[in-house]
Symmetry: C2
Subunit: 223 residues, 2 copies
């Protein structure tokens, strides 16, 4: 049920390879791979900077410095902050969706799929500090044309999770209540963690995810 | 247990009257009252704008227009966006703290105090659209000197709620688990609602708060 890190990496590669983020120059295979690796490094460094000083406090010179590149070289890979922000959004929602799809395809029961959501989010906060903050807080600063596909993916994902909640209620593994509100409470418990979970100080994401899941599973009222 | 709106208003008046946001010119009492009322109107209009186009998309001309003031008149009341952002933060955390203190002083049991947290947040999202987004998303854009007192108040409030969770666990009204994580789950359920609760389309905040509270109280697992 835990999301293996290779999955996140696969997703990252897929998303970074998306049409909107194609390398500008064509070349032999080795160059494409190098470009992808470089883009991933730039993305990771930029996300750390966004987390540290805020999206608006970061400029392309700082991103170049974090990636160990000169500014003209940086522009060879990335058109600007907006492209980085879009890539962060694609990576985040793409990973969540891919992991949920994999669980559903593997025949995991609805309750296990819901638990997986909590684990995914804690793992993403841990593995990619800054991405999740950019995802939640800077969506509306994306170019409106870029907002639409991300919003569509996000809405599809939320709808999917609500349908899983409904299925779990029908199966009797989740107590009957409003499925949409139940899903929002689940998202709240894990998504809100980007405000308090400190990846390199607190226990591992799987440990915290399990504890938070159990708190929600059992509820506040003593049984 | 619901937070009467007069309480929020009292808090607003108190916070707007804080030393940092004193009117710049002294005058008779009627002027002070008018200044406070005007500041509140400016704050409300600015919060709506922040919610609509994002903090960075708003300038002082837009805030003046929303308040029906000329720009020089606006500057008579408010020094700039940073002051508005600070006032929003003070209002938000001040209201939460004041309502919790009132419940504790009235002898409410720990469980009722925790339920009150959920109601407070939904009511704030409903009554002040935009404030809560500014509170959660733009804290780090406050002048660092202004961040410190807000962070201190926020931390005190979180610590207070954790102590209430601990008390409820001792009393046996809340199931024993990690009190800090339990508090974070509670905050997640209500705070995250600023991302999905639509004040003028969804049911009243008290209704949604009750449903979310019951979902968390009973837990996902059927009893």
């Amino acid at each position: 049920m835990s999301a293996p890190s290779s999955r996140a990496t696969a997703s990252e590669a897929r998303d970074i390879d998306a049409p909107t983020t194609q390398p500008r120059k064509r070349g032999p295979k080795v160059d494409v791979e190098q470009t992808l690796r470089r883009k991933r490094e730039i993305l990771r460094g930029a996300a750390r900077l966004f987390d540290k000083v805020g999206y608006h406090g970061v400029n392309m010179s700082m991103i170049a410095e974090a990636a160990g590149l000169k500014k003209p070289t940086l522009y060879h890979y990335i058109s600007g902050k907006d492209e980085i922000l879009f890539m962060l959004h694609e990576l985040f929602i793409g990973t969540l969706r891919q992991n949920t799809d994999a669980r559903l395809e593997s025949g995991a029961d609805a309750l296990a799929v819901l638990r997986g959501v909590v684990e995914d989010v804690f793992k993403l906060i841990h593995d990619y500090p800054g991405y999740i903050r950019a995802f939640f807080e800077h969506f509306r600063e994306l170019d409106p044309k870029k907002q639409a596909p991300i919003a569509a993916k996000r809405d599809e994902y939320v709808t999917l999770i609500i349908s899983v909640v409904r299925k779990a209620m029908t199966e009797g593994t989740v107590r009957k209540a409003d499925p949409t509100l139940t899903a929002h409470c689940l998202f709240g418990i894990c998504n809100w963690a980007y405000q308090w979970y400190r990846p390199h100080k607190d226990p591992a994401p799987e440990v915290i995810a399990t504890k938070c899941w159990n708190i929600f599973l059992n509820g506040l009222a003593p049984r």
